[in-house]
Symmetry: C2
Subunit: 254 residues, 2 copies
DNA sequence: ACATTGGATACCGTATACAGTTGTGCCGAC
DNA sequence: GTCGGCACAACTGTATACGGTATCCAATGT
């Protein structure tokens, strides 16, 4: 049932940094996970990935274990997979994010420096353009870029990292949301509000904007994800022997 | 300068679970770190630990990497050490804890079940006894037990785990605090207040108690830690060649 | 006395090898 | 035709081995 990781053409080319092998493989895999290039129902097996990278199992194994430890992957007895989050998981993640992100945004607004502001401006411009053209992919990229920018301004690295990780974990459903419904407007408006607060260096406003933004996002995520699950259940129950080609629809949601 | 991990008598005896070797070593090392049995200025080298456990380097290496990844250890070019936290680090950790723990306490108060309540009662009894006898060690143990109990009642595992990790990271200075000044009273009172709120299943009260408790704890931690750093600086500057036996005093603080 | 350089060493990262375990597909029995 | 083994293949976890590199020490020169 579970597909295999289709052999990446020239991954090796992407390995560039002078860090250790494990590090580079970890970074590469994480990036692909962040961008949802891997998706559920894909079994990650160290031996395969190792041969794909042209290395031995060990660095890959370390990278996979680390990713699993950080919640990006779920380890099974037979390889790793990206975890299929239950509704309760998403609720849990959002609970933490709700607690952390408003304060983080406030801090960012307080400590914002020039280059970060420039980056935010660039990101918001992208978002506007994408919104105008109704280009979802670009909106997603802009959204990620915007977040990366203000998170980078958060001095408390532990706070920033914790947030980043939790955001990554809901990335899949996040993408689905943006693609799916008319929540794009919500996102676009939310970004504008945040951008405004950041520009004014107004921590209180930033926190408030973030809080409302997150509430809206959570709303949207839940409705979309719920619909997905319902669809899956509906597809599962009547004919469980339905061929793999027709499976969960998460297939093309990649 | 940096000491070595003194060969543990029969660590192997403590390895009991039927999990994988890496797992058990990880758990054992983490426990020792939580209890500050390892302390800074101790270099952890995989080969040594491996021979101590009677295994090869690999499981130890994995355990150490994992601990480092989770912030329990800092990797250097020459083995791992428990990180000496700067004041800014402590501030950062407390900022996150301030954001998370009140809500977590509220959740715990909401979802508290019978066995957990019993455990809380047992812990608070221990704390009272320790407080009466002025037995710092027991107070510390009771404190840890109390926290473990209510954290166990938090249904949101991600939230609970995140908190647990950050708490562990300040464990060292935490112990120093309790040992040092008259902050024991603060802790004892804080525990009582929390216990009361938990018993009444009052989320709001629990959150409030936790917030004030944390504020007090942070206060205390900072004064103590600051004093420590001052002392270190004072000891460092005049005679940097001071013998190892007289060093930072973190020595016997174990 | 102190700085510099060379070598020895300790340790890390990666590779290869081996053993144990678990899923899986095949075959035979009912 | 279905169910129960049975053997094989796949994958994980651990061990051993090897090469590279950073650190330490000592010897030499200034």
């Amino acid at each position: 049932m579970a597909r295999r990781l289709n052999a990446p053409s020239e991954i090796v080319a992407r390995l560039s940094k002078p860090d250790s092998l494990s590090e580079r493989i970890y970074a590469d895999l994480r990036q692909r996970l962040q961008r949802c290039e891997i998706g559920p129902d894909v079994r990650l097996v160290d031996t395969e990935i190792a041969s794909a990278y042209g290395t031995s199992r060990m660095p890959v194994r370390e990278a996979l274990l680390r990713l699993a430890n950080e919640g990006y992957l779920a380890g099974t007895t037979r390889g790793f997979m990206v975890p299929r989050l239950a509704l309760s998981d998403i609720r849990d993640i959002f609970e933490v994010r709700r607690l952390l992100e408003p304060q983080a945004a406030a801090n960012a607004a307080r400590d914002l420096d020039e280059p970060t502001e420039a980056e935010l401006t660039a990101a918001i411009r992208e978002a506007r353009e994408a919104s105008r053209l109704d280009d979802v992919e670009r909106l997603i990229v802009a959204n990620i870029r915007f977040r990366a920018a203000w998170l980078g301004a958060v001095r408390n690295e532990r706070l920033a990292n914790t947030i980043a990780r939790f955001v990554d974990h809901v990335q899949t459903v996040r993408l689905g949301t943006l693609r799916g419904s008319g929540t794009r407007k919500v996102v676009a408006d939310g970004l504008e509000g945040l951008y405004d607060a950041f520009l004014r260096r107004d921590p209180t406003a930033a926190a408030k904007r973030m809080a409302t933004f997150m509430a809206a996002a959570e709303e949207a995520f839940f409705s979309v994800r719920k619909a997905e699950l319902d669809r899956e259940d509906a597809a599962e129950t009547p004919d469980s022997k339905s061929p793999a080609s027709k499976s969960p629809a998460a297939e093309d949601a990649r």
